[in-house]
Symmetry: C2
Subunit: 411 residues, 2 copies
């Protein structure tokens, strides 16, 4: 077996990003509602002003603000009521000095007016007359034309994940469809002679295929399309054929399982046996996740994940999702997904290695606290009880009670 | 118009929870992969032990730990290699004192063995002999039968949202399907004579229907099925007919828009005009979101949301999602979704009112900092630039730079 030194978390991230620097998912145009949580493939620029006209933000009287100068409860200013603006209609009249026009919330400000007096600050002794009891400043109670989005404003930048507020802004700007990156198609191969599918009866010595279900769920929640290929037997020929099949239609291939040295050897051999294959790392200074394999075949990144469920899910969170972001040109910092918490107890850790511990979070005095859940690696109940993963960077030899830690929330 | 006093955020939450206390979404059985992010309708209890047999966590030699007593590099213990455990097969031999059995990671521990020595701590001068250079404790490098999940353990509790680690644990336990709550069907009615659909050309005085798209996106991201009913004209008869239609097939109805007093009156009248209708509040001591309406018709909660996009989305986040959690018996605390940050500047606020400000987050010295984005309410660009909403509780009259705040992250 070729010798690979375990590389650091930072180097692994660099290696993945570098290997995918020329590969980008295709674009596709989707209807606005389908654009939610997709990655914008281009800048989306406002082609119109929003609002398209100056609008009142209250029910009241549109006026020239200068005409309200000095108005008060004790000395109201007198206005001639020159008409009324209807919702959804153009304001037809032009306001003359001393005139006021009745306007509803959202109504179009008539030409000549520059502010709106709230109905609460007015009296109407008769249909023709309004008494204004409060001064208004220019622009008061009005959203000016283009004040929300003006022509040329970037509504969503290339590489941003489209959120529900973006959907609102795009609707407001009349964008009925959006160019986004195609979803990443991930195929998960399960390896291991001891594995049986969840619907099968596990004989003595066999266990059920846990990881492919958990990994598929994580990646679907992250916006991927996922195919679980099924269980491949630990034979080089079977494995190589299955890998070639998965590579032919996938954007990313994840090989799950194969904790034993023998299976890892098959995985490495099979990757290297493909056309245009490059094995980039084998072994990480990350706990859990040491036996991780990464390579690229043509334009398809291939991950060999550890067999222990906690290790597999940790590496999926840290590195497979990084590859997916890179393929989609997704600019979001991963720091968006972390919480900051203070530790409830000391955690030992080896320097020179990035450690990740499942942890339970709770709030105390308005702050998050994190309790690490210790246990043998590979116990999935640790993850189901956890709210996230604590990260201990490689330069630290453990952390102390009260130390601030980043917690990656797992969904 | 009937007089309603603006009620507090706390009272509004209590009112919603109380009004829905006897209403619960139906259950349905779904295949395991479809259970992701659904709400468990019952406790899911492990029916088998996991692992179903004691397994090695390393490649090495299964031994009786007592036989390694005193073993070291300088004085290795001698063992007879009695055989080999194959992956996925039952361990057939029973270990005798002084014997070792070759075992792969994940292999079944043979009867008689209670620990595994890593291959790195052994030498094999010939096929029959193993020299062990390190002592092992009972249970070392072994996951005992049932150590991860034992029969009777709760894998997912009723009311929990099923995460990807849960999917893994359920797969491990052989649960091919899960009982979950049915998705909540929400219909969104848009009101306002000034509204046109996003595909239409907006004439002068008209604006596009922004909120129904943004709200639909938020609620779909929260796991609901959403129908956008379309735009209803501001006429009592039209509105009442549309509401009756929506009520006939929805679990929740959201009325979006209608910022003017006139439209709000129609909304209130129409709700009260339905059979078995109860108007529960109209007016909230929340900014933004004051003109919120809430009632229940039969078993269907009905929200009338403010017309300003920021206010509509804020109330959807705070109260509509609360109703959805309640209908699904979802036990998750909303605090799971908040980050803690320190303010970069002072924020004024009126006591007696819960205030929510869009804010931008960044990390500084390992902590989140939040910069409130000030601007006229109703400007959607504030939300697209924000990472979340800062909450200023009603008992505070503003917050100071450096104060810790909860930030609700909007997706």
């Amino acid at each position: 077996m070729e010798f690979f030194q375990a590389i650091s978390f930072e180097k692994a991230k660099e290696s993945i990003i570098h290997s995918l620097r020329h590969i980008r998912a295709d674009q596709e145009k989707v209807d606005l509602p389908q654009a939610l949580h997709r990655i914008a493939a281009t800048h989306v620029i406002a082609q119109e002003n929003l609002p398209p006209f100056s609008r009142s933000t209250v029910d009241g009287f549109a006026v020239r603000s200068a005409d309200t100068f000095g108005a008060s409860e004790s000395a109201p200013s007198l206005f001639l009521v020159a008409g009324e603006v209807s919702m959804g209609a153009a304001a037809s009249m032009t306001l003359q000095p001393g005139e006021a026009v009745i306007i509803p919330t959202g109504g179009m400000l008539p030409p000549g007016a520059d502010a709106v007096v709230m109905v609460e600050h007015s009296e109407q002794p008769d249909d023709q007359t309004a008494l204004i009891t409060k001064m208004v400043a220019p622009g008061e109670n009005v959203v000016m034309k283009g004040e929300d989005l003006s022509i040329g404003t970037t509504i969503v930048a290339e590489g941003q994940k489209i959120t529900s507020p973006h959907i609102g802004a795009l609707a407001a700007a009349g964008m009925a469809s959006v160019n986004v990156r195609k979803k990443i198609f991930v195929t998960i191969l399960s390896t291991g002679d001891e594995l049986v599918d969840i619907t099968a009866t596990a004989e003595v010595g066999q266990i059920r295929d846990t990881n492919s279900y958990a990994l598929a769920a994580m990646l679907e929640a992250y916006g991927c399309e996922v195919r679980r290929w099924g269980i491949v037997k630990d034979r080089y020929e079977d494995f190589s054929k299955a890998l070639a099949d998965a590579l032919s239609y996938s954007d990313v291939v994840v090989i799950s399982g194969g904790s034993s040295v023998g299976t890892r050897d098959y995985t490495v051999q099979a990757i290297k046996g493909m056309n245009q294959a490059q094995l980039l790392f084998h072994g990480l200074a990350i706990k859990p996740g040491k036996p991780t394999i990464y390579g690229i075949v043509g334009s398809v990144p291939v991950f060999g994940l550890p067999g222990h469920p906690v290790a597999a899910m940790t590496i999926c969170e840290l590195l497979v999702k990084l590859a997916i972001r890179q393929l989609q040109g997704h600019q979001e910092a991963s720091s968006r997904h972390t919480l900051v918490a203070s530790l409830t107890r000391n955690i030992p850790s080896a320097p020179g290695r990035d450690d990740f511990f499942p942890a339970k979070l709770f709030k105390q005095e308005g702050q998050y606290r994190a309790t690490p859940l210790f246990g043998k690696s590979g116990l999935i109940h640790l993850l189901t009880e956890a709210d996230g993963l604590i990260h201990i960077p490689s330069e630290k030899s453990g952390l102390y009670e009260g130390d601030k830690v980043d917690v990656l929330v797992m969904t």
